[in-house]
Amino acid sequence: MRSLFNAWSWLFLILILGFFEIYAQTQTGSTFLFRIYNLQSISVAASQILLLALGLTLVIVAGHIDLSIAFSTGFAAVIMAMIIRAAGPDAGWLIVLLAMGAGILAAAMVGLVNGWLVALLNVPSFIGTLGTYGIARGVALIAAGGATVSIRNDHARAFGNGTILGLPIPLVTAAILALACHYLLKHTRFGVHTYALGANRASVERAGVDVKKHLILLFLLSAITAGIGGLIYTSRFSAGAANAGEPILLYAVAAVFIGGASLTGGQGTITGTVIGAFIIAVIQFGLVFCGLPPYWQFVAVGLVIIVAVLVDQSKDRIVGGRS
């Protein structure tokens, strides 16, 4: 019964897809769902959101938040682009891999600082990561000299825009990371401790878990997945932008909450977050597809987000949980 719970968000996602399919069939006489092209576009957009949302899910389950991912993404994107650029136009695979490693390292540094602030100095995570948000942003802009760092590299471009077995590489990357995070949260001791931390810090602490180390690892993880988002960004657009992650932050947080997490921690799943990211990507795509005027799109996205959660809530009423 308990495993049924997630099914409601799935249901809602399917509902939206069904709505757009019917729209496409009746209004344009074509199909919405069964075009590889549509699916690819939606999945790439969802992947970019997911890469910020995956690590964040664990942080939120633990009862914290990480705003700095908005610029860990940009920091990684800029560092990667700078190294490839420095290596010249003919930089090979090795250089690109090296540049990616450096980008992840840059993001990881932000994560370490977050962990240090939250775990060791007891700074509330909202304010600590808002601080590193500013710092990462400034440092990324200083590194990039304020603008985007453009690159010309076919390997990077292939990584950002190519496919594996017909699946876009950003999707494959996000899928692998989602699986890894799902495994981590659902099937490992690390995951249990994350849930327990969100419910009652004292319970884990007294059970003999090194909560400080745990928190540092959480923020590191969150920064690294966001950093990988930055690598994808640079590769897709052949440009590293310090602002790469900022506009996506709110959608990433929304995906986590649509997926069933709560501000107070102790709740949330990776599958929920994945569905949340897809719900957002599908409506963003679908509303344009339907030709809804732009301002109405803002209204519609707002409505769908609320209804997504209401549908998720109604399971409690129907299955019959709390009074």
Binding site: T188, A196, S203, G208, V209
Partner: protein
Amino acid sequence: MSALLKIDGLKKRFGGNEAVSNVSFEVNAGECVVLAGDNGAGKSTVIKMISGVYQPTAGKVWMNGELLTGKTPEAVRSAGIETIYQDLALADNLDPGLNLYLGRERTRKVLGLPFLDRKTMREDAVEVMKSLGITVPDPTAPVREMSGGQRQAIAIARAIHWQAGLVIMDEPTAALGVPEQREVMALIERLKKKGVGIILISHNLPDIFAASDRIIVLARGIVAGERRPAETNDEEIVRMMMGATL
């Protein structure tokens, strides 16, 4: 024989309030020491200083000759001390099995990767709780949904499930039914027989007299006196609790 646990001059100050002053005592293997005292006397504060939750303002704690003071709850637990806290310290969103094993979860390998063995842990929890006389209707439910006594049983189960050298129990039977209280008293006897040291906090005088080898009475943060159960009676203990240092 040197003592299993040795406590020397423990003191804890909260802001301007000195909750515990100069508390010293020892616990030997196989011995049950009862910490008695009125509400707010400082009993829970003393045991939290032993288990590493609070750092003492002054004083030291040794286990088997090894200094524990300054160590984390983690290190204290690995030194062989299990604690049942008065507030239970359960993770409300997890099931009894995961609470039982919290910090020491069981895993099994699948394709070389460790996966949590939720089923085994849950079965173990059901079994340990059954040995205390408690059944839960749905062992997959989070402990948030359990009754007061069921929750306390999980906290007790967690402490006795491991081969500890010393078990600290802060009012372990407060929420338990009559038969379950008897089970816990029997359990204390069994643990003593195995050579486990026990520190018990209780407000129940019959239980105190039944279980204890020594009674240490705290009053307003200081040791008001120490008695063997055979040498004293209800009245005297209550008088000591009220602050009459004899």
